[in-house]
Symmetry: C2
Subunit: 134 residues, 2 copies
Amino acid sequence: MSKHRPRSPRRSPSRRRAAATCCAPLDALLDPRLFRALGDPTRIALLVRLARCRGPCSVGEAAACCAVDLSVVSRHLALLHDAGVLSARKKGRTVLYSVRYGELCRALRALADSIEACCPNGAARRRSKGECHE
Amino acid sequence: MSKHRPRSPRRSPSRRRAAATCCAPLDALLDPRLFRALGDPTRIALLVRLARCRGPCSVGEAAACCAVDLSVVSRHLALLHDAGVLSARKKGRTVLYSVRYGELCRALRALADSIEACCPNGAARRRSKGECHE
DNA sequence: ATTATATTTGCATAGTTGTGCAAATGAGCA
DNA sequence: TGCTCATTTGCACAACTATGCAAATATAAT
């Protein structure tokens, strides 16, 4: 997901082998940077706004959805961009942001799949409603 | 997502209308509380650990995955529980936490669906790779 | 009751984050 | 060149967060 990342030394090389195989992708998919980016109400509002725009949206236009300073909006959009949620394109003196629908959806679905794969009786994917004890 | 919540409205029947209708569910699905909970490396480590456990896991057991104080682990697990990511069950003097696989997956997929529905040419769902400009 | 184990809570603290304002940059236009 | 508009950056500050340690609670075992 995240665009350019300084490669965190998080994971230890041979961390737990036994029950690890199925959940291996989880580590990569569960990127705190993505979730942190989505963890702020103002940024969520901006993301929804961008999604509703159906197409590129300038910083000023995006700012219409929330009552914070324009500079704050600029920072939030940059952060969402860094997290890989938005793409940015410069057109003249304005910056056009748009939602990276495909990337975002793929990341979320991959995560869901990976989590599901860890579910004790997760083999019955997508079938019955109550496949997992919860 | 969040444990006790007024039942998010499913997908709108007529997908894509004036541009605003289709994204209505997004507001409900994009819950900052969930993402904030997943936005911390230690909590992610705990979640992965819990997923690997394949079944209930005590606070002490979960703590094995990260080098923070047990009290911190306790707080993180409580937070994940509040966010609806984990379920908790008390057994004697230990508390068993487990991943709410179903809820979590459903939330992520619903979110992916909802985002995709906002995509300008999102009608081609799941078909081609590059359905969306990004 | 006493002791031991599992978890939680109170408090202090260092670090991070969201915010506004003012100034700076950048890009088009007269 | 100046002028205007869109966006970003520097700075300060309040609020929040993650953390560790010590003490408190809860439950089980002796």
